[in-house]
Amino acid sequence: GTASLTNYPSPEENDVAFAQRYLANFYGLEMETTPMTKMKVNRNIMENKIQEMQKFFGLKVTGQLDTSTLDMMHRPRCGVPDVEN
Protein backbone atom coordinates (compact mmCIF):
# COMPACT_ATOMS: atom_id res chain seq x y z
CA GLY A 1 0.00 0.00 0.00
CA THR A 2 1.04 3.61 -0.16
CA ALA A 3 1.70 5.79 2.79
CA SER A 4 1.50 9.51 2.94
CA LEU A 5 5.03 10.97 2.97
CA THR A 6 3.95 14.09 4.80
CA ASN A 7 1.91 14.36 7.96
CA TYR A 8 1.14 18.05 7.91
CA PRO A 9 -1.96 18.84 9.96
CA SER A 10 -4.95 19.94 7.87
CA PRO A 11 -6.14 23.54 8.10
CA GLU A 12 -9.05 22.33 10.22
CA GLU A 13 -6.71 20.57 12.62
CA ASN A 14 -4.69 23.78 12.85
CA ASP A 15 -7.85 25.71 13.67
CA VAL A 16 -8.83 23.24 16.35
CA ALA A 17 -5.37 23.29 17.90
CA PHE A 18 -5.32 27.12 17.84
CA ALA A 19 -8.82 27.23 19.36
CA GLN A 20 -7.82 24.82 22.09
CA ARG A 21 -4.86 26.98 23.07
CA TYR A 22 -7.06 30.12 22.96
CA LEU A 23 -9.78 28.57 25.12
CA ALA A 24 -7.21 27.17 27.55
CA ASN A 25 -5.55 30.61 27.84
CA PHE A 26 -8.66 32.75 28.22
CA TYR A 27 -11.56 30.48 29.16
CA GLY A 28 -9.93 27.90 31.41
CA LEU A 29 -10.43 24.97 29.02
CA GLU A 30 -9.02 21.80 30.53
CA MET A 31 -9.09 18.76 28.26
CA GLU A 32 -9.76 15.28 29.65
CA THR A 33 -6.62 13.18 29.40
CA THR A 34 -7.79 9.67 30.31
CA PRO A 35 -7.87 7.76 26.94
CA MET A 36 -11.06 5.79 27.58
CA THR A 37 -13.40 8.77 27.89
CA LYS A 38 -11.32 11.35 26.03
CA MET A 39 -12.99 11.82 22.66
CA LYS A 40 -16.64 12.37 23.47
CA VAL A 41 -16.11 14.24 26.72
CA ASN A 42 -13.51 16.55 25.20
CA ARG A 43 -15.83 17.43 22.36
CA ASN A 44 -18.54 18.46 24.82
CA ILE A 45 -16.11 20.41 26.97
CA MET A 46 -14.74 22.19 23.90
CA GLU A 47 -18.22 22.98 22.62
CA ASN A 48 -19.24 24.45 25.97
CA LYS A 49 -16.13 26.62 26.10
CA ILE A 50 -16.66 27.80 22.51
CA GLN A 51 -20.21 28.76 23.48
CA GLU A 52 -18.92 30.61 26.53
CA MET A 53 -16.48 32.56 24.39
CA GLN A 54 -19.11 33.29 21.74
CA LYS A 55 -21.49 34.54 24.41
CA PHE A 56 -18.82 36.81 25.90
CA PHE A 57 -18.02 38.39 22.53
CA GLY A 58 -21.64 38.72 21.50
CA LEU A 59 -21.17 36.29 18.63
CA LYS A 60 -23.80 33.81 17.47
CA VAL A 61 -23.71 31.03 20.03
CA THR A 62 -23.21 27.87 17.97
CA GLY A 63 -20.58 25.95 19.90
CA GLN A 64 -18.82 25.51 16.55
CA LEU A 65 -15.57 26.98 15.23
CA ASP A 66 -17.35 29.03 12.59
CA THR A 67 -15.68 31.83 10.65
CA SER A 68 -16.66 34.72 12.91
CA THR A 69 -15.50 32.79 15.98
CA LEU A 70 -12.13 31.98 14.44
CA ASP A 71 -11.76 35.58 13.23
CA MET A 72 -12.32 36.84 16.78
CA MET A 73 -9.81 34.32 18.13
CA HIS A 74 -7.21 35.55 15.69
CA ARG A 75 -7.58 39.19 16.66
CA PRO A 76 -4.70 40.68 18.64
CA ARG A 77 -5.72 40.94 22.26
CA CYS A 78 -4.81 41.23 25.92
CA GLY A 79 -3.33 38.18 27.67
CA VAL A 80 -5.58 38.38 30.74
CA PRO A 81 -8.28 35.65 30.77
CA ASP A 82 -11.85 36.75 29.95
CA VAL A 83 -13.41 34.66 32.69
CA GLU A 84 -12.45 33.72 36.21
CA ASN A 85 -10.01 30.86 36.32
Partner: protein, 370 residues
Protein backbone atom coordinates in the same frame (compact mmCIF):
# COMPACT_ATOMS: atom_id res chain seq x y z
CA UNK B 1 -17.75 45.30 32.94
CA UNK B 2 -16.25 42.58 35.16
CA UNK B 3 -14.04 42.79 38.26
CA UNK B 4 -11.36 40.34 39.32
CA UNK B 5 -12.37 37.53 41.70
CA UNK B 6 -12.27 38.83 45.26
CA UNK B 7 -12.56 42.42 44.00
CA UNK B 8 -8.90 43.40 44.66
CA UNK B 9 -8.37 47.20 44.84
CA UNK B 10 -5.64 49.58 45.89
CA UNK B 11 -6.40 50.76 49.41
CA UNK B 12 -4.71 54.13 48.83
CA UNK B 13 -5.28 57.07 46.51
CA UNK B 14 -1.72 57.89 45.46
CA UNK B 15 -0.31 55.04 43.36
CA UNK B 16 3.21 54.92 41.98
CA UNK B 17 4.38 53.44 38.69
CA UNK B 18 7.82 52.81 37.24
CA UNK B 19 8.79 52.06 33.65
CA UNK B 20 11.49 49.45 34.13
CA UNK B 21 12.77 49.39 30.56
CA UNK B 22 11.92 51.12 27.28
CA UNK B 23 10.94 49.68 23.91
CA UNK B 24 13.32 50.74 21.13
CA UNK B 25 10.28 51.29 18.90
CA UNK B 26 9.63 54.76 20.35
CA UNK B 27 11.65 57.60 21.86
CA UNK B 28 11.78 57.25 25.68
CA UNK B 29 9.93 60.54 26.10
CA UNK B 30 7.14 59.22 23.84
CA UNK B 31 6.85 56.12 26.04
CA UNK B 32 6.74 58.30 29.18
CA UNK B 33 4.11 60.50 27.53
CA UNK B 34 1.96 57.54 26.44
CA UNK B 35 1.88 56.10 29.97
CA UNK B 36 1.39 59.50 31.62
CA UNK B 37 -1.65 60.13 29.41
CA UNK B 38 -2.93 56.58 29.95
CA UNK B 39 -2.84 56.95 33.74
CA UNK B 40 -4.52 60.35 33.43
CA UNK B 41 -7.49 58.77 31.63
CA UNK B 42 -8.24 56.86 34.85
CA UNK B 43 -7.34 59.62 37.32
CA UNK B 44 -9.81 61.92 35.52
CA UNK B 45 -12.77 59.76 36.55
CA UNK B 46 -11.65 58.54 40.01
CA UNK B 47 -10.08 60.04 43.14
CA UNK B 48 -6.83 58.22 42.25
CA UNK B 49 -3.54 60.00 41.55
CA UNK B 50 -0.51 58.48 39.89
CA UNK B 51 3.16 59.36 40.18
CA UNK B 52 6.02 58.02 38.09
CA UNK B 53 9.13 56.99 40.07
CA UNK B 54 12.48 55.98 38.62
CA UNK B 55 13.98 53.75 41.30
CA UNK B 56 12.90 51.19 43.89
CA UNK B 57 9.71 49.17 43.79
CA UNK B 58 6.62 50.97 42.51
CA UNK B 59 3.02 49.76 42.96
CA UNK B 60 2.73 49.26 39.21
CA UNK B 61 5.96 48.03 37.57
CA UNK B 62 5.89 48.31 33.78
CA UNK B 63 8.21 46.35 31.50
CA UNK B 64 8.62 45.36 27.87
CA UNK B 65 9.48 41.67 27.56
CA UNK B 66 9.86 38.86 25.02
CA UNK B 67 8.41 35.31 25.28
CA UNK B 68 9.13 33.75 28.70
CA UNK B 69 9.73 36.57 31.22
CA UNK B 70 9.59 35.13 34.74
CA UNK B 71 5.82 34.97 35.16
CA UNK B 72 3.64 32.04 34.12
CA UNK B 73 2.41 33.81 31.01
CA UNK B 74 4.98 33.83 28.17
CA UNK B 75 4.37 36.16 25.25
CA UNK B 76 3.84 34.76 21.76
CA UNK B 77 5.63 36.94 19.23
CA UNK B 78 4.14 39.65 16.97
CA UNK B 79 0.37 40.26 17.38
CA UNK B 80 -1.59 37.53 19.19
CA UNK B 81 -1.16 38.53 22.83
CA UNK B 82 -0.03 42.18 23.01
CA UNK B 83 0.29 42.65 26.76
CA UNK B 84 -1.07 41.56 30.12
CA UNK B 85 -1.34 42.94 33.62
CA UNK B 86 -2.03 41.71 37.13
CA UNK B 87 -4.77 42.72 39.55
CA UNK B 88 -3.93 45.08 42.43
CA UNK B 89 -1.69 43.50 45.07
CA UNK B 90 1.85 43.24 46.39
CA UNK B 91 4.78 41.95 44.30
CA UNK B 92 3.61 41.09 40.80
CA UNK B 93 0.22 42.57 41.71
CA UNK B 94 -0.64 45.60 39.55
CA UNK B 95 2.31 45.07 37.23
CA UNK B 96 1.85 45.48 33.47
CA UNK B 97 3.95 43.70 30.81
CA UNK B 98 4.08 44.60 27.13
CA UNK B 99 5.23 42.20 24.40
CA UNK B 100 8.48 43.58 22.95
CA UNK B 101 7.87 41.49 19.81
CA UNK B 102 5.22 44.05 18.83
CA UNK B 103 6.10 47.18 16.93
CA UNK B 104 4.72 49.73 19.38
CA UNK B 105 3.54 52.99 17.84
CA UNK B 106 2.16 56.38 18.69
CA UNK B 107 -0.17 56.08 15.67
CA UNK B 108 -1.98 53.27 13.96
CA UNK B 109 0.63 51.31 11.98
CA UNK B 110 1.05 48.92 14.88
CA UNK B 111 -0.51 48.47 18.29
CA UNK B 112 -0.90 51.96 19.77
CA UNK B 113 1.02 52.02 23.07
CA UNK B 114 -1.30 54.57 24.67
CA UNK B 115 -4.48 52.56 23.91
CA UNK B 116 -3.00 49.26 25.11
CA UNK B 117 -1.60 51.02 28.20
CA UNK B 118 -5.07 52.39 29.11
CA UNK B 119 -6.45 48.84 28.86
CA UNK B 120 -3.68 47.20 30.93
CA UNK B 121 -3.78 49.93 33.59
CA UNK B 122 -7.51 49.17 33.86
CA UNK B 123 -6.43 45.67 34.93
CA UNK B 124 -3.74 47.06 37.22
CA UNK B 125 -6.51 48.99 39.00
CA UNK B 126 -8.82 45.97 39.32
CA UNK B 127 -10.99 45.86 36.21
CA UNK B 128 -11.49 42.56 34.36
CA UNK B 129 -12.52 42.29 30.70
CA UNK B 130 -15.77 43.74 29.49
CA UNK B 131 -18.02 42.25 26.83
CA UNK B 132 -19.07 45.78 25.84
CA UNK B 133 -17.46 46.33 22.42
CA UNK B 134 -17.27 50.08 23.00
CA UNK B 135 -15.29 49.63 26.23
CA UNK B 136 -11.49 49.98 26.36
CA UNK B 137 -11.66 46.89 28.61
CA UNK B 138 -12.97 44.79 25.72
CA UNK B 139 -10.29 42.08 25.35
CA UNK B 140 -9.55 42.38 21.61
CA UNK B 141 -7.47 45.22 20.29
CA UNK B 142 -8.98 47.54 17.75
CA UNK B 143 -7.66 50.87 16.64
CA UNK B 144 -9.50 53.89 18.07
CA UNK B 145 -8.69 57.46 17.13
CA UNK B 146 -6.42 57.97 20.13
CA UNK B 147 -6.60 61.79 19.71
CA UNK B 148 -10.27 61.84 20.76
CA UNK B 149 -10.20 58.70 22.85
CA UNK B 150 -12.73 58.59 25.67
CA UNK B 151 -13.56 55.96 28.25
CA UNK B 152 -16.94 54.37 27.56
CA UNK B 153 -19.78 54.62 30.05
CA UNK B 154 -19.17 50.96 30.89
CA UNK B 155 -15.50 51.63 31.71
CA UNK B 156 -16.39 54.58 33.93
CA UNK B 157 -19.08 52.63 35.74
CA UNK B 158 -16.67 49.79 36.37
CA UNK B 159 -13.80 51.86 37.75
CA UNK B 160 -16.12 54.06 39.82
CA UNK B 161 -17.65 50.93 41.33
CA UNK B 162 -14.15 50.28 42.74
CA UNK B 163 -12.91 53.77 43.66
CA UNK B 164 -15.85 56.15 43.49
CA UNK B 165 -16.00 59.41 41.61
CA UNK B 166 -13.32 62.11 41.41
CA UNK B 167 -13.30 64.49 44.37
CA UNK B 168 -15.49 67.55 43.68
CA UNK B 169 -12.62 70.04 43.57
CA UNK B 170 -10.68 67.87 41.17
CA UNK B 171 -10.74 69.48 37.74
CA UNK B 172 -10.36 66.83 35.07
CA UNK B 173 -7.53 67.32 32.66
CA UNK B 174 -10.09 67.49 29.95
CA UNK B 175 -13.37 69.07 31.11
CA UNK B 176 -15.44 67.29 28.55
CA UNK B 177 -14.07 64.11 30.03
CA UNK B 178 -16.54 64.42 32.88
CA UNK B 179 -18.97 62.88 30.41
CA UNK B 180 -16.45 61.19 28.19
CA UNK B 181 -18.61 59.03 26.04
CA UNK B 182 -21.35 61.67 26.00
CA UNK B 183 -19.15 64.14 24.18
CA UNK B 184 -18.42 61.79 21.35
CA UNK B 185 -19.34 63.89 18.27
CA UNK B 186 -21.14 60.89 16.85
CA UNK B 187 -23.22 60.43 19.99
CA UNK B 188 -26.78 59.16 19.41
CA UNK B 189 -29.32 58.22 22.06
CA UNK B 190 -31.53 55.14 22.34
CA UNK B 191 -34.38 57.10 24.00
CA UNK B 192 -34.94 60.43 25.74
CA UNK B 193 -37.68 61.64 28.07
CA UNK B 194 -38.39 64.29 30.65
CA UNK B 195 -38.76 62.96 34.19
CA UNK B 196 -40.09 65.66 36.46
CA UNK B 197 -37.61 68.56 36.31
CA UNK B 198 -34.96 66.35 34.73
CA UNK B 199 -34.26 64.85 31.31
CA UNK B 200 -33.11 61.24 30.97
CA UNK B 201 -30.98 60.29 27.95
CA UNK B 202 -30.84 56.49 27.61
CA UNK B 203 -27.85 54.75 26.01
CA UNK B 204 -26.97 51.04 26.19
CA UNK B 205 -27.08 50.02 29.89
CA UNK B 206 -26.94 53.59 31.19
CA UNK B 207 -28.67 56.92 31.16
CA UNK B 208 -27.39 60.43 31.58
CA UNK B 209 -29.65 62.69 33.54
CA UNK B 210 -29.62 66.42 34.04
CA UNK B 211 -31.81 69.23 35.18
CA UNK B 212 -33.57 70.58 32.09
CA UNK B 213 -31.99 74.00 32.53
CA UNK B 214 -28.48 72.89 33.54
CA UNK B 215 -25.64 71.84 31.22
CA UNK B 216 -24.16 69.50 33.87
CA UNK B 217 -25.14 65.87 33.65
CA UNK B 218 -24.57 62.71 35.65
CA UNK B 219 -24.58 59.08 34.61
CA UNK B 220 -26.39 56.14 36.21
CA UNK B 221 -27.25 52.61 35.23
CA UNK B 222 -30.75 51.66 34.08
CA UNK B 223 -30.64 48.79 36.56
CA UNK B 224 -30.45 51.41 39.33
CA UNK B 225 -34.01 52.40 38.35
CA UNK B 226 -35.23 48.84 38.76
CA UNK B 227 -33.50 45.47 38.54
CA UNK B 228 -36.05 44.12 36.11
CA UNK B 229 -35.82 47.01 33.67
CA UNK B 230 -34.03 46.06 30.44
CA UNK B 231 -30.96 47.76 28.97
CA UNK B 232 -31.00 49.28 25.48
CA UNK B 233 -34.36 51.05 26.00
CA UNK B 234 -35.78 52.04 22.59
CA UNK B 235 -38.43 54.65 23.48
CA UNK B 236 -39.61 56.52 26.55
CA UNK B 237 -42.18 59.20 27.42
CA UNK B 238 -43.58 60.90 30.48
CA UNK B 239 -47.12 61.95 31.45
CA UNK B 240 -45.93 64.51 33.95
CA UNK B 241 -49.25 65.24 35.70
CA UNK B 242 -49.54 61.51 36.56
CA UNK B 243 -45.80 61.13 37.38
CA UNK B 244 -45.85 58.23 34.90
CA UNK B 245 -42.84 57.34 32.76
CA UNK B 246 -43.24 54.62 30.14
CA UNK B 247 -40.20 52.69 28.83
CA UNK B 248 -40.30 50.62 25.63
CA UNK B 249 -38.10 47.81 24.38
CA UNK B 250 -39.03 45.49 21.46
CA UNK B 251 -42.70 44.52 21.80
CA UNK B 252 -42.92 45.26 25.53
CA UNK B 253 -43.33 48.34 27.72
CA UNK B 254 -42.85 49.11 31.40
CA UNK B 255 -44.46 51.75 33.63
CA UNK B 256 -42.68 53.67 36.38
CA UNK B 257 -44.81 55.67 38.80
CA UNK B 258 -42.76 58.25 40.69
CA UNK B 259 -39.74 56.40 39.30
CA UNK B 260 -40.91 53.11 40.88
CA UNK B 261 -41.35 50.28 38.38
CA UNK B 262 -44.92 49.04 38.62
CA UNK B 263 -45.84 45.37 39.18
CA UNK B 264 -47.62 43.38 36.42
CA UNK B 265 -45.39 45.00 33.80
CA UNK B 266 -44.03 44.57 31.14
CA UNK B 267 -47.07 44.55 28.93
CA UNK B 268 -47.35 43.97 25.21
CA UNK B 269 -47.34 47.06 22.98
CA UNK B 270 -50.10 45.40 20.99
CA UNK B 271 -52.42 46.02 23.94
CA UNK B 272 -52.10 49.72 23.00
CA UNK B 273 -53.60 49.06 19.59
CA UNK B 274 -50.56 48.50 17.39
CA UNK B 275 -50.96 45.93 14.60
CA UNK B 276 -48.99 42.69 15.06
CA UNK B 277 -46.66 43.85 12.29
CA UNK B 278 -45.18 46.43 14.69
CA UNK B 279 -42.35 44.72 16.58
CA UNK B 280 -40.74 47.71 18.32
CA UNK B 281 -41.11 51.44 18.89
CA UNK B 282 -38.37 53.82 17.75
CA UNK B 283 -39.47 56.83 19.80
CA UNK B 284 -42.46 58.20 21.73
CA UNK B 285 -43.51 61.55 23.10
CA UNK B 286 -46.51 62.76 25.11
CA UNK B 287 -47.93 66.18 24.22
CA UNK B 288 -49.65 67.69 27.28
CA UNK B 289 -51.35 70.32 25.12
CA UNK B 290 -53.39 67.70 23.24
CA UNK B 291 -53.05 64.95 25.94
CA UNK B 292 -51.98 62.59 23.15
CA UNK B 293 -48.91 60.38 22.75
CA UNK B 294 -47.11 60.07 19.45
CA UNK B 295 -45.41 56.75 18.69
CA UNK B 296 -42.78 56.73 15.94
CA UNK B 297 -42.15 53.46 14.12
CA UNK B 298 -39.96 53.45 11.00
CA UNK B 299 -41.09 56.30 8.76
CA UNK B 300 -44.62 56.38 10.23
CA UNK B 301 -46.25 57.45 13.47
CA UNK B 302 -49.39 56.58 15.47
CA UNK B 303 -51.29 58.83 17.87
CA UNK B 304 -52.70 57.50 21.14
CA UNK B 305 -55.45 59.26 23.13
CA UNK B 306 -54.32 59.03 26.77
CA UNK B 307 -57.74 60.06 28.11
CA UNK B 308 -59.78 57.53 26.17
CA UNK B 309 -56.90 55.03 26.36
CA UNK B 310 -56.87 53.93 22.72
CA UNK B 311 -55.27 54.66 19.40
CA UNK B 312 -56.80 57.42 17.30
CA UNK B 313 -58.29 56.24 13.98
CA UNK B 314 -56.64 57.11 10.65
CA UNK B 315 -53.10 56.13 11.69
CA UNK B 316 -50.30 55.38 10.89
CA UNK B 317 -49.25 58.46 8.92
CA UNK B 318 -45.94 59.47 7.34
CA UNK B 319 -43.61 61.38 9.68
CA UNK B 320 -42.24 63.58 6.88
CA UNK B 321 -45.75 64.68 5.89
CA UNK B 322 -46.94 65.79 9.33
CA UNK B 323 -43.62 66.88 10.88
CA UNK B 324 -41.96 68.96 8.14
CA UNK B 325 -38.17 68.82 8.35
CA UNK B 326 -38.20 65.73 10.53
CA UNK B 327 -37.51 62.11 9.59
CA UNK B 328 -37.95 59.93 7.63
CA UNK B 329 -37.00 58.02 10.82
CA UNK B 330 -36.10 59.24 14.30
CA UNK B 331 -34.18 57.73 17.24
CA UNK B 332 -35.67 59.63 20.14
CA UNK B 333 -37.85 62.61 21.00
CA UNK B 334 -38.92 64.51 24.08
CA UNK B 335 -41.31 67.41 24.70
CA UNK B 336 -40.31 70.50 26.66
CA UNK B 337 -41.87 73.93 26.84
CA UNK B 338 -43.99 73.80 23.65
CA UNK B 339 -41.18 72.21 21.61
CA UNK B 340 -40.34 68.69 20.50
CA UNK B 341 -36.66 67.80 20.48
CA UNK B 342 -36.16 65.18 17.75
CA UNK B 343 -32.93 63.13 17.74
CA UNK B 344 -31.82 61.58 14.47
CA UNK B 345 -28.41 59.96 14.94
CA UNK B 346 -26.04 62.70 15.99
CA UNK B 347 -28.46 65.46 14.89
CA UNK B 348 -30.93 67.24 17.15
CA UNK B 349 -33.83 69.27 15.74
CA UNK B 350 -35.84 71.68 17.87
CA UNK B 351 -39.42 71.71 16.56
CA UNK B 352 -42.06 74.29 17.48
CA UNK B 353 -45.20 72.29 18.17
CA UNK B 354 -47.76 74.94 17.32
CA UNK B 355 -45.89 76.57 14.42
CA UNK B 356 -45.16 73.02 13.16
CA UNK B 357 -41.65 73.71 11.93
CA UNK B 358 -38.00 73.11 12.82
CA UNK B 359 -36.59 76.25 14.41
CA UNK B 360 -33.07 75.04 15.27
CA UNK B 361 -30.63 72.24 14.36
CA UNK B 362 -27.89 71.17 16.79
CA UNK B 363 -25.61 68.20 17.60
CA UNK B 364 -27.23 65.58 19.82
CA UNK B 365 -24.38 65.78 22.32
CA UNK B 366 -25.13 69.51 22.85
CA UNK B 367 -27.89 68.57 25.30
CA UNK B 368 -25.27 67.11 27.65
CA UNK B 369 -23.31 70.32 27.85
CA UNK B 370 -20.68 69.37 25.28
Amino acid sequence: YQLFPGRPVWKKRLITYRINNYTPDLKPEDVDDAFQKAFQVWSDVTPLKFRQIHENEADIMIQFALREHRDAYPFDGPWGILAHAFAPGAGLGGDAHFDEAETWTKGRKGPNLFLVAVHEIGHSLGLGHSSDTSAIMFPSYRHIDYKIFRLSADDIHGIQSLYGRPEKHQVPSNPSNTNPAACDPNMSFDAVTTVGDKIFFFKDRFFWWKLAESPKSSISSISSLGPNLPSHIQAAYEIADRSHVFLFKDDKYWLMNNLKPQLNYPKSIHSLGFPSSVKKIDAAVFNPLFYKTYFFVGNKFWRYDERRQFMDPGYPKLITTYFPGIGPKIDAVFYYNRHYYFFQGSKLRKYHVLAQRVIESLKSSTVLGC
